[in-house]
């Protein structure tokens, strides 16, 4: 019994070191911009760079747009599948998993062929329409995470009975969705939203090939030309991602405590 416990601890420690040591190394390197001392100079340079602010703001806006479009697309789909179209579940799950199987570069080349400036729907003809195309690309990319998170939430509640109970009390479909279903899958939607944010904020391939000023291409550009700043940016990207994960945990734990009688 004790040996098994020791084995578990060793596995945890080795696993943690595998992830933490490179991070500590990156963080330590990012602090060595000034010779002979540790400082946050690299971070100051990064934060002062107008391109950082612009690209980070751009990616944040894109992530928020992706979340909104994703929620509007996924929540009713998942709800309807749970309520009426259970038979379609395997097909929808297959479709939502495809972005994990098909490389982003293949998807974006497909978009470029379909929506180039000489096509019927020339979404790449202007910057704004390309932004729209990029947001839709991100929705596709984040679909596996958003759908799974929302679907898990929907499965955790008895969607059909709750819908019927609300309808029986006089509620129409919009009321059922907004006052009964959505509040009960709020945590699942937030989880999907944070995962989407974490995915979109550092995405490179789609933004780069669609030539949009996003944070991912900026990271690549800095990484190719500077020494210490890329490490600082990597740490910042990690912090943002981890903050998202932390928020998922905080929101999820809040719900768990509430559910305990």
């Amino acid at each position: 019994m004790k040996q098994a416990k020791l084995g578990s601890w060793i596995a945890i420690i080795v696993g943690s070191l595998y992830f933490i040591v490179p991070l500590i190394g990156t963080f330590e390197f990012s602090m060595r911009m000034r010779r002979g001392e540790y400082s946050f100079a690299a971070y100051r340079v990064v934060f002062a760079d107008p391109n950082f602010q612009a690209t980070f703001a751009y990616s944040t806006v894109m992530a928020l747009a992706t979340i909104v479009i994703g929620v509007v697309l996924v929540v009713p789909t998942s709800y309807w599948i749970q309520l009426r179209l259970q038979k379609l579940r395997p097909l929808v799950e297959f479709i939502t998993l495809m972005p994990l199987v098909i490389p982003a570069i293949v998807i974006v080349f497909g978009y470029l062929r379909l929506y180039n400036s000489s096509s019927i729907l020339p979404l790449t003809a202007s910057a704004r329409s390309t932004d729209l195309l990029l947001a839709f690309s991100y929705v596709t990319l984040a679909l596996p995470y958003m759908y799974r998170a929302v679907d898990t939430g929907m499965r955790a509640i008895d969607v059909r009975t709750l819908t019927e109970a609300a309808e029986n009390l006089g509620a129409g479909l919009p009321t059922v969705l907004f006052r009964v279903i959505l509040p009960n899958v709020r945590v699942a939607i937030l989880s999907g939203a944070f995962l989407t944010f974490a995915t979109v904020i550092g995405e490179f391939t789609m933004a780069s090939l669609l030539n949009r000023p996003a944070f991912g291409p900026y990271l690549q550009l800095i990484g190719a030309n500077r020494a210490y700043e890329p490490s600082a940016l990597a740490v910042i990207a990690f912090v943002v991602t981890w903050a998202c994960m932390g928020l998922i945990n905080v929101v999820g734990r809040g719900k768990q405590i509430k559910a305990t009688p």
């Binding site: 008895d158 009975t161 019927e164 109970a165 609300a166 309808e167 029986n168 009390l169 006089g170």
Partner: protein
């Protein structure tokens, strides 16, 4: 006057018919139970009244108005679900107020109605709690209050007590019945529990394989089952197969022993097979001729009783009751005797006489096979 009327209602799923030609007239304020085993179509019929299923044919009317094609939110029918279906994101008061808010009632009216409903279910102090903070019984009472708050024309209850433990079930069914009586609300109650149906209902609709087997008062259903299914499903029943000897006087032979029914057999001829039923509580067990003579002298009526000789095969002590299985030849019957601490319990293998009134031998129609 009929308040709720289901006429020739049918429901098909593809080629499968799950409810066949369902006809029922319910009086205002009546408490009707749909009783039957799982898959007999009772919940589907209830859901058609609620509007969650659309009948393939037939019509449903409430107070003369055809509601067959109305959406569930347009019917003003309250429903209590087996799984409570309380909204987890709302408090008890929020749940009860939900339907009233949808109906856009004034806030003061909603508050007063919620308070009234919570008092009615004897949970006036729990309005601020969330469903997860309540026991199963409390949750179901809140579900009942929520359904009643909108003053529905008809109250539908879909096996509301089946998720609760036995004691709560008994107390809650009494509460539901007294509330129903107090409010005078027309109610349909779905259950597979015969005790619930018998103890609560004005009338019972016994269903099997999508068909109505019998509609009647609990007394009629229990004492005069029309079909073998009703006889076997409602209460414990001994089913015996015999041969008709003289249909005019109701004489039949079971395992070589002659017994009589109280009425002539009209649906079969001499020599044909028949099926009869006998309730365990209708039969009396005599362990000796002396005991029989002594007991018979106190019998309130002098009508001749059927007597069959058999051997005790099994004795089950159930507390206040001792259930004894007596074998004749091919057939065995179970009968209940009261536990008597001062008497010797019946012994397995002993020869006994089983006596029962002719009235208690029920001839089952169309159940000869």
């Amino acid at each position: 006057m009929t308040f709720l009327d289901l006429s020739d209602v049918r429901k098909n799923y593809g080629s499968q018919t799950v409810v066949h030609k369902f006809d029922l007239d319910v009086e205002r304020g009546e408490f009707i139970s749909f009783l039957g085993p799982s898959g007999c179509g009772k919940t589907t019929t209830l859901r058609m009244v609620a509007g969650f299923e659309t009948p393939t044919a037939g019509a449903i009317r409430i107070d003369g108005k055809d509601i067959t094609r109305l959406r569930p939110n347009q019917r003003n029918v309250g429903m209590v679900f087996q799984s409570y279906a309380l909204f987890p994101n709302m408090t008890v008061a929020g749940n009860v107020a939900f339907g009233l808010k949808i109906a856009k009632k004034p806030a003061a009216e909603i508050a007063a109605r919620v308070e009234e409903m919570l008092k009615l279910i004897k949970l006036p102090h729990l309005g601020a709690r969330f469903p997860y903070q309540l026991s199963g019984g409390q949750q179901q009472r809140v579900a009942l209050a929520r359904a009643l708050a909108i003053s529905p024309q008809v109250l539908l209850l879909d096996e509301p007590l089946s998720a609760l433990d036995a004691k709560i079930r008994v107390s809650l069914r009494e509460e539901i019945r007294s509330l129903q009586r107090a409010l005078g609300i027309t109610t349909i109650y779905v259950t597979h529990d015969q005790e619930e149906a018998l103890s609560m209902s004005d009338r019972i609709v016994v269903m099997n394989e999508g068909r109505v087997e019998q509609i009647g008062t609990p007394f009629e259903i229990y004492n005069n089952p029309k079909t073998r299914f009703v006889a076997s499903f409602v209460g414990t029943l001994n089913i015996l197969k015999g041969t008709i000897v003289d249909p005019a006087v109701g004489r039949i032979v079971i395992d070589g022993q002659e017994v009589m029914t109280s009425k002539p057999v009209t649906h079969a001829k001499a020599g044909e097979a028949c099926t009869v039923a006998l309730r365990p509580e209708a039969a009396t067990l005599y362990q000796s001729e002396m005991q029989e003579a002594a007991t018979s002298s106190f019998a309130k009526d002098s009508e001749p009783r059927n007597r069959m000789q058999g051997t005790i095969e099994e004795v089950s002590f159930l507390g206040s009751v001792v259930r004894v299985r007596v074998r004749f030849d091919e057939h065995a019957i179970s009968l209940d005797t009261f536990n008597n601490p001062s008497a010797t319990p019946p012994a397995r293998g002993s020869q006994v006489t089983v006596a029962f009134a002719r009235d208690d031998l029920l001839m089952l129609e169309g159940a000869a096979a």
